[in-house]
C-alpha cells in the first residue's frame, strides 16, 4: 500500500515536534527514517498510527485521505507498528500479548492453542526462540523486543512501522529481522524503518529520509557511506570508531567471589561467579541474553534477594548491604530496562537526575530538599549530555527514547564513582551521542574508576572493553583480552571454553555474527 504524509504537524505545548513533514512510502519499499534523538521520528509514527492527534496535515493511503480517531482505525486500515517503548502487557504470556486485539476463537472464547501455534510458527520462521507460554515480565528486554516484533508481524499489515526494533537485538537476530523485512517488501508491504545503526540502514533501506528538529532536512542514498550518513543526521562530523588509549589498570578494586543467586523456585540464575575488576579498566560482559547478566549487575547493586557469596569493593563487603548503602559507596548503575527500572516517568528530568542522591548533600539536609541545588545539577547535566528537553521541569516520560537513556547515563556518571556498572549503555542513542557516551565512559576509566559494561551489541563490548568476560548459563565461562577473535567470542557465547573455541576457530569454525560484521564495516 502506498503511504503518504502531507504537512504533518504535531505540537506539544509550545514545542513543535513535527513541523509540516511530508513523506511518501511506496509499496514494496523499505523507507528508513534517520535522525538524532528527539528529532521527532517516534512522534511522527505515533501520529500515523493514530496514537497522537496531529495538529495539522493529512494522511493518505493509496492516495485516499484517511482520518484515524485511534490506533484501532489505523490497524483496520492495514497499518502495523513495533513501538520503541514496547506495548506489551507485563503479566500476560507471550501468546496472550500476541493475540490481544485480534483474538482467534469462536463465540468470544479464546483459542489459546491457535494463538500458541501462531507464535511458534512466526518465531520458527524468523529464527526467534520464543516460548508462547512465557510471561512477558519475566523475559529479558531482548526477548520482549522479539515478542513486540512477532506481535506486529502476526497482523499482516500492509504498512509496517518499525521504531527501533533492533535496539536490543543481537547481531544475529538483527540479521534475521532484516531478512524478514526484505521478504515482506518483496511481497509488497511498505515498511518504515527507524534505527540508529547505520550499517542496518545501509543493508536494507531503499530510500532514506533524514529528520532534524522536527523537519525533513534531506534524503540520502543507501550507498552513501556511514560517515556521510552520520554527519547528515546530526549535522556535524562524527567519529564512528572509538580510539582509546590502552588501559593502565591499577590494583583490584572489585573482588567478586562465589556469587550465586537462586530464584524462588530453586532455579540457579547466577552460579558461583568469581570476578576481579581493576581500577582504571573496563570489563565487558558478553553473552547471549538471559545467561545471568541481569542477575550479575543486579546482585552487585544489592537488588537480588538472597545473593550468596562475597562482593568486595575497595575492601568493603557489599553482600547483605542495602542498595542505598551500595549507592552511597559510590556505585553508579545503569539498568538494562530504563522504562521500568531507571526512571520515574511522571517525575521531572531534574528529579530523575538526582534520584539516587536526593537524600544527601548538596541536594538535601535532613528532611529538606534543596530544589536550587537539584536544578543547578540538572541544568549542568542536561547541557553536558546534550539531553534534548524543553525544560528540566518536563516529565521525563515526554522525552524521546534516546534522551531518556542520556538522563539515566548522566545520573550514573554525574558524581565521583568507586565503580560504574552499565547495561546497554547506549540503547536507542544516536550516533553522535554514542560517540560522546563512549568517550565519557573511557574518561571515567581513565580517572581510575573500575567499569563493567554489559551489552547485547558485541561491537560495543569489543570497542569499550579492556577485557571481556563471557557469561554462559549463569556462570563466567572465561575472561579473554578485548582483541580476541570475534569467532572465538561467538563460540564462547554458545558454551565453548576459551581454549576449545580457539581450537575450533583454528580448525575453521565461524559464527553467524561474523558474516554481519563483515557486511557492515564497523570493527
Amino acid at each position: 500500500m502506498k503511504l503518504e504524509l502531507r504537512g504533518i504537524t504535531k505540537v506539544f505545548g509550545t514545542f513543535v515536534a513535527n513541523d509540516a513533514i511530508d513523506l511518501v512510502v511506496e509499496p514494496g519499499e523499505i523507507h528508513s527514517l534517520l535522525g538524532e534523538n528527539g528529532a521527532g521520528k517516534s512522534t511522527l509514527m505515533n501520529v500515523l498510527y493514530g496514537l497522537y492527534r496531529p495538529d495539522g496535515g493529512e494522511i493518505l493511503l493509496d492516495d485516499e485521505p484517511v482520518r484515524f480517531s485511534g490506533p484501532g482505525d489505523a490497524m483496520r486500515a492495514g497499518i502495523g507498528m513495533v513501538h520503541q517503548h514496547f506495548m506489551l502487557v507485563p503479566p500476560f504470556t507471550v501468546a496472550e500479548n500476541v493475540m490481544l486485539g485480534n483474538e482467534p476463537g469462536t463465540f468470544g472464547f479464546l483459542d489459546l492453542a491457535s494463538a500458541r501455534r501462531t507464535v511458534r510458527e512466526l518465531s520458527a520462521r524468523f529464527g526467534f526462540d520464543i516460548d508462547p507460554d512465557a510471561v512477558v515480565e519475566d523475559l529479558p528486554v531482548g526477548a520482549q523486543q522479539r515478542v513486540e516484533i512477532i506481535k506486529a508481524l502476526s497482523r499482516q499489515a500492509k504498512v509496517l512501522v518499525l521504531d527501533e526494533p533492533t535496539a536490543v537485538l543481537t547481531p544475529h537476530e538483527t540479521d534475521e529481522l532484516m531478512g524478514i523485512m526484505r521478504q515482506l517488501r518483496d511481497e509488497g508491504t511498505s515498511i518504515v524503518f527507524i534505527t540508529h545503526k547505520l550499517r542496518e540502514v545501509k543493508a536494507v533501506a531503499d530510500r532514506i529520509t533524514v529528520i532534524r528538529r522536527g523537519r525533513i532536512v534531506g534524503t540520502a542514498d543507501p550507498s552513501a557511506d556511514q560517515t556521510e550518513l552520520a554527519s547528515l543526521m546530526v549535522g556535524r562530523s562524527v567519529a564512528l570508531d572509538l580510539d582509546k588509549a590502552p588501559a593502565a589498570p591499577g590494583e583490584v578494586a572489585l573482588e567478586v567471589r562465589g556469587l550465586g543467586v537462586t530464584d524462588a523456585d530453586g532455579v540457579v540464575l547466577l552460579d558461583d561467579v568469581d570476578l576481579d575488576v581493576h581500577r582504571g579498566e573496563v570489563l565487558g560482559v558478553a553473552g547471549v541474553q538471559g545467561n545471568g547478566q541481569t542477575e550479575l549487575t543486579e546482585a552487585l547493586l544489592g537488588l537480588q534477594k538472597g545473593a550468596r557469596g562475597s562482593i568486595r569493593l575497595d575492601g568493603a563487603e557489599l553482600v547483605g548491604r542495602s542498595t542505598r548503602q551500595i549507592l552511597d559507596a559510590g556505585v553508579g548503575f545503569v539498568p538494562e530496562d530504563r522504562t521500568h527500572d531507571a526512571l520515574v516517568p511522571d517525575f521531572s528530568v531534574a528529579e530523575n537526575l538526582v534520584l539516587d542522591q536526593h537524600h544527601r548533600a548538596p541536594y538535601a539536609t535532613g528532611v529538606l530538599l534543596h530544589p536550587e541545588a537539584v536544578r543547578r545539577r540538572a541544568t549542568a547535566e542536561v547541557e553536558e549530555f546534550d539531553v534534548r528537553t524543553g525544560s528540566i521541569d518536563d516529565a521525563v516520560s515526554t522525552l524521546s527514547g534516546g534522551n531518556q537513556q542520556k538522563v539515566v547515563m548522566a545520573r550514573a556518571l554525574g558524581r565521583d564513582l568507586s565503580l560504574f556498572i552499565a547495561s546497554q549503555p547506549t540503547r536507542g542513542v544516536d550516533v553522535g551521542s554514542i560517540e560522546f557516551l563512549h568517550r565519557r565512559i573511557v574518561a571515567e576509566r581513565d580517572k581510575g574508576t573500575p567499569v563493567i559494561i554489559v551489552s547485547t551489541e558485541l561491537d560495543e563490548v569489543i570497542q569499550l572493553s579492556d577485557r571481556i568476560a563471557v557469561m554462559y548459563r549463569g556462570g563466567i565461562l572465561g575472561i579473554v583480552p578485548a582483541d580476541e577473535d570475534r569467532d572465538v567470542l561467538g563460540l564462547m557465547m554458545a558454551g565453548y571454553t576459551a581454549e576449545a573455541a580457539r581450537e575450533a576457530v583454528a580448525a575453521g569454525a565461524r559464527t553467524s555474527d561474523t558474516t554481519l560484521a563483515d557486511e557492515g564495516d564497523i570493527v
Binding site: P71, G72, M99, G266, G495, E499, E503, S512
Partner: protein, 445 residues
C-alpha cells in the same frame, strides 16, 4: 573438536536451561513455624482447656433428610478434650510434613496448598469443639447463617473485581449496596412484588455506577475520593427518603417483602449441605452463576483478556485497537449492577424493610474480600465465605447458654470478624497483585 563443553552448534539463541539446586530459601522456616505454633496453641488451649468430662455435640443429619440407612449420623457427641487433642495432633503431623518438605527442598506442588487447607479445617473444628464444649453445634444451621451473611459480601466483592480489573478503583461498593437495598424495597413496595424489587435494585445502584464512571473515567477525578463521596451521597440520599416518604407511608414505600425460597427437590434434602446449597432464594443461585460465568469470562474469553489488558497497561491495549475508556465504563456499570443485587439480599433477600445505613460497612468488608481473593471471582467468593463464617460463629457463640462453651467474652466475639479480616488481608497483601493501572486514568495525547 573433542573438547566441547556444551552444545556443538554455536546458535546465538540457545535457550537457557535452568539448573536446580538443593539450596533452601531464606524464608523456608516461616510457614512450618507458624503452623507449629498454631498447632501447639490448639493442643494447649483447645485440648487441655476443654473439661475432660464435657463432650461437644455436632448436629449433622436432621429429621426428614434424604439419609438412606442413616449413613450420616444425626447428633454426634464426642468427648471434647479427646477430639481437640486428636485434631491438634493431626495438625502437628501436617506441620511436621511441611518442616520436612521445606528443609529438604522437596517440591510438594499443589499438595502444599492442600495440606495448608486441611490444616485450617482441622484447626477450626478443634476451635469449635472447644468453644462449644457442653453444647450443640448445629452444622447445617451455622452454614445457613454463613450463607446469608456471605451473599451481599460476595456480590460486593464481584463488583470490585469487575471494576478494578479494568483499572477503576471501586470504593463505592458500600454506596452501591445501599442503593440496591433501597431500590429493591422502594420499587418492590410500590409495585407490590419482590420481583419488581429484584429488577429495580441493580438499576438503582447503576446511578452510583454512572456517577463513578463519569467522574473517574470521564473527568479523571481521583478515584478514591470519588468513591468516598459517592458513599456519603448514597447514605444522604437514602436517609432522606427513609426519613420522609418511607416513614410517612411504610405501607406504600417500605414493606418487608421477601423473595420466595426456591427449593430444589431431593437435593435440598441432603443432610448438612442440602438446605444451604439447594433451598435458597434466587439471589443466592444468581451469585453462584455470576461467580462461574465471571471466572470463565475473565480468563477464557476475548472480553476478559481485553478487560485485563486495560487494567494492566491501557496504552498497550489502545495500540491494539481496544477502546480503553469504553471498556472501563462498561465494567464499572456492570459492577455496580452486580453490587445492586448484593444490596437486594439485605432487604428482599432476607425479608426485612429498608433501614437507615443498613449496609453497615459491608461494602468495605467486600473490598477486603476482593483483595484477599486476589481480584479473582472464586477467590472473592471464598474470602466472602470466610468473613461470613467468622460472623456467623460470633452470632452463634453469643447466644450460648451460660455454663456451656468456653465462655469467650462477647466483646471479643464482636471483634472476631474484623480481626480475621485484618490478619487475612495483612497475610496475603504482599502477595496480591493489583492491576497495574488500577486507579490511573487514561489520557490520550
Amino acid at each position: 573438536m573433542s573438547t566441547l563443553v556444551q552444545d556443538p552448534v554455536p546458535v546465538a539463541d540457545a535457550p537457557v536451561v535452568p539448573v536446580r539446586t538443593s539450596e533452601r530459601l531464606r524464608s523456608w522456616w516461616h510457614l512450618p513455624t507458624a503452623l507449629t505454633v498454631l498447632a501447639l496453641a490448639a493442643l494447649l488451649v483447645f485440648g487441655l482447656g476443654s473439661p475432660a468430662a464435657d463432650s461437644t455435640t455436632f448436629r449433622l443429619a436432621a429429621e426428614g433428610d434424604l439419609n438412606p440407612g442413616g449413613i450420616v449420623p444425626g447428633d454426634v457427641a464426642i468427648p471434647a478434650r479427646v477430639l481437640a487433642i486428636v485434631l491438634a495432633a493431626l495438625c502437628l503431623v501436617i506441620a511436621g510434613v511441611l518442616w520436612w518438605a521445606s528443609a529438604t527442598v522437596t517440591a510438594l506442588g499443589r499438595w502444599r496448598t492442600a495440606l495448608v487447607v486441611v490444616f485450617g479445617l482441622l484447626w477450626v473444628i478443634a476451635f469449635l469443639d472447644w468453644a462449644f464444649h457442653g453444647a450443640t453445634v448445629d452444622v447445617g444451621a451455622m452454614l445457613q447463617t454463613m450463607m446469608v451473611l456471605a451473599v451481599p459480601l460476595a456480590f460486593g466483592a464481584l463488583s470490585g473485581v469487575l471494576s478494578e480489573r479494568s483499572g477503576v478503583i471501586n470504593i463505592a461498593i458500600e454506596g452501591q449496596l445501599l442503593m440496591g437495598a433501597f431500590g429493591a424495597v422502594l420499587v418492590g413496595s410500590m409495585v407490590g412484588s419482590p420481583w419488581a424489587g429484584l429488577i429495580a435494585a441493580p438499576v438503582m445502584s447503576l446511578l452510583i455506577g454512572v456517577l463513578l464512571a463519569l467522574f473517574a473515567v470521564g473527568y479523571r477525578v481521583q478515584q478514591i475520593i470519588v468513591g468516598v463521596v459517592l458513599n456519603v451521597f448514597a447514605i444522604g440520599l437514602t436517609s432522606f427518603f427513609f426519613g420522609t416518604v418511607m416513614k410517612q407511608n411504610p405501607q406504600m414505600f417500605n414493606q418487608p417483602l421477601r423473595l420466595p425460597t426456591l427449593r430444589i427437590p431431593l437435593l435440598a434434602d441432603l443432610p448438612v449441605i442440602g438446605r444451604v446449597l439447594f433451598e435458597q432464594n434466587i439471589l443466592v443461585y444468581l451469585m453462584w452463576i455470576i461467580v462461574a460465568v465471571l471466572t470463565v469470562a475473565l480468563f477464557r474469553t476475548r472480553w476478559g483478556l481485553r478487560v485485563r489488558a486495560v487494567g494492566e497497561h491501557p496504552r498497550a491495549a489502545d495500540t491494539v485497537g481496544i477502546n480503553v475508556n469504553g471498556t472501563r465504563w462498561g465494567n464499572v456499570l456492570l459492577g455496580s449492577a452486580v453490587a445492586g443485587l448484593g444490596g437486594a439480599t439485605l432487604t428482599i433477600g432476607t425479608g426485612v424493610a429498608f433501614g437507615e445505613e443498613m449496609s453497615a460497612g459491608k461494602g468495605y468488608i467486600a473490598l477486603a474480600a476482593m483483595i484477599l481473593g486476589r481480584y479473582h471471582p472464586v477467590g472473592a467468593l471464598a474470602a466472602a465465605l470466610l468473613f461470613a463464617f467468622t460472623d456467623a460463629l460470633q452470632l452463634r457463640l453469643g447466644t450460648l447458654p451460660t455454663g456451656s462453651g468456653a465462655g469467650i467474652p462477647s466483646q471479643f466475639l464482636l471483634m472476631l470478624p474484623y480481626i480475621v479480616t485484618l490478619f487475612a488481608v495483612a497475610g496475603v497483601v504482599g502477595r496480591v497483585r493489583v492491576p497495574a493501572a488500577d486507579g490511573v486514568p487514561y489520557v490520550k495525547q
